[in-house]
Amino acid sequence: MDYRLITNASDDSVLVRFEERIDPEIAGKVRQAGLLVSRARLPWVTDIVPAYNELLVVFRPGSVKPSEALLAVKEAIDMASEAEGYKPRLKRIPVCYGGAFGPDLPEVSRHTGLDPEQVIMLHSSARYLIYMIGFTIGFPYLGGMDHRLETPRLTVPRPKVPRGSVGIGGKQTGIYPLDVPGGWQIIGRSPVNLVDTAMMPPVLLSAGDYVEFFPIDEGEYSRIQEAVEAGRYSIEDLELGGSQ
């Protein structure tokens, strides 16, 4: 693979770095490298962490010499692979925009000069690539927001943003899986659970997959929320097929 750097990042990790830019193609290479390392079933590996342009492979300290780990990871990703590429999946997430769930929708509308309805339409008609999961449990770094929706973060972050909140921060958009402090403009909320530590995997979203948001009204929000609480709601996985 055409990575720029492969090296030990510590005595218990190997880093693979690709070209430094936010680009679905680069993210695809990172995802593919992660898949190859995972398929190599290196017994000492504990974590494979994809990011925008880097793959971090962490292993148990002392279980393998760092130089041997480096070589094994390099071999795994250099293998001229005829194996299938990663098949991204799409998850469609219901969002109740505006009102009490989206207190900053008026501000986003004012800043962008778009009607609230146009903001909702633009936000819910894009397909977002999950570049990575980080910052907090299950939090997706999404790419693909319409540039017309760009709105600066709040000048003073909120001490607590309710989980499920959907926000815009500068050029980014995302959904908060847990109650956390946050400075994004909150335009809506989803009744869906993004984190459930009793489930495997414990998070709804994973790097390399795609997300779409679709608008629901408050009645639908309540119905879905009840179903979620009763364990009767699940989001279907749509296969997008082929390598991205």
Partner: protein, 344 residues
């Protein structure tokens, strides 16, 4: 589960920890676990537990626990007074506490954290493979939070436990090691973004004494001292954070990432503290002095193997026929605990 201990005083910050939660980074779940893993592992060995049993991590002493049933306990870590019903028992000595007995951790003279191991190990639910508490994410441990007054903790059955142990004579806890000038020496390996610092800046960091800031916690140890200068700013495209990473944000003053480190981050990183020296982070307290020293990656591996060997040789079985040794055996990347008793 039946209650084993009741918290009379939790101290400034006490939480249930084991050796952490590897394998969950891709979900954004931090590693967590004891910051001073060496002291936790040894405390467990002393009471006959496996090294990875869940124990109590306490901060700066000031803890009082009442036992609700007979329990073998041992304390390791920062030096300070450890009493049971007013009688000094000291660090590193397993003691059987009777129902109604009170264990007190007094003030500590140096270091930061103490680990109280209970025979059987603390019984809290396993979340994503670990009993460790991740405080910021309210995950694991006792309801995902720090302990408070009147909390009751249970222990698991001690069926799988081995005999109690004591420390070998003259054992010095490597987590508390200081150099001749009282500084904590942290060995580091080269980072992956040297070009993001101006020429010579990494060397200047390595040649400087740093002071531990009060704004340090289980997530990171903030340091005051030489501010490294970046070549292209401090912000990078967010990426996975390697264990031991030393972040350098815009201020130029380093932050050593510890157990509750976030899984990804957007600041430049100067180098990484080697795995063998990370347990020392658990014993750094505000105003301690830290010095970094660069070592090669093979030396870092060697240091970890040496640390494992030290832990395997640091305890002797009480009442056993001979010296007990626990060995860590790595076969195909899987690690096995092997116990050897010298009876000849």
């Amino acid at each position: 589960m039946t209650g084993c201990v009741r918290v009379i005083k939790p101290g400034p910050l006490s939480s249930v920890q084991d050796l952490g939660r590897p394998g969950a980074m891709a979900w954004g779940v931090p590693h967590s676990g004891a910051v001073d893993a060496v002291s936790l592992r040894i405390a467990n060995l002393l009471v006959g537990n496996g090294q990875d049993a869940a124990a109590l991590e306490t901060t700066m002493g000031g803890v009082e626990l009442e036992f609700l049933k007979s329990t073998v306990v041992a304390v390791m870590g920062a030096p300070g007074s450890v009493t049971i019903d007013g009688e000094e028992v000291g660090l590193g000595c397993p003691v059987e506490a009777k129902p109604g007995s009170v264990l007190k951790l007094g003030g500590i003279s140096s270091g930061m954290r103490q680990y109280i191991a209970f025979r059987g190990g603390l019984d809290v639910p396993v979340v994503l493979g670990s009993r460790s508490t991740y405080l910021k994410g309210a995950l694991g441990g006792l309801e995902g939070r720090a302990l408070k007054m009147d909390d009751v903790l249970g222990v698991l059955p001690d069926g799988p436990c081995k005999g109690m142990c004591t420390l070998v004579e003259g054992f010095a806890n490597p987590s508390l090691e200081r150099d001749g000038e009282g500084r904590c020496l942290l060995r580091v390996t080269q980072g992956t973004m040297d070009a993001r610092f101006l020429q010579g800046e990494i060397d200047r960091m390595l040649g400087s004494d740093y002071i531990v800031s009060t704004e340090s916690d289980r997530m990171g140890i903030r340091l005051k001292g030489y501010s490294a200068k970046h070549s292209r700013g401090a912000d990078i495209l967010s990426g996975g954070i390697e264990p031991g990473a030393v972040q350098v944000p815009g201020s130029g003053e380093p932050i050593i990432l510890a157990s509750d480190r976030q899984t990804t981050g957007g600041y430049t990183k100067a180098f990484s503290v080697i795995s063998a020296d990370r347990p020392k982070l658990g014993q750094l307290r505000p105003s301690d002095i830290v010095r970094f020293r660069m070592v090669g990656i093979d030396d870092a591996y060697g240091a970890y193997v040496a640390l494992e060997s030290l832990i395997s040789r640091c305890t002797i079985a009480i009442g056993g026929k001979g010296r007990m040794r626990t060995l860590k055996l790595s076969i195909d990347g899987r690690i096995y605990d092997v116990e050897v008793e010298e009876i000849a």
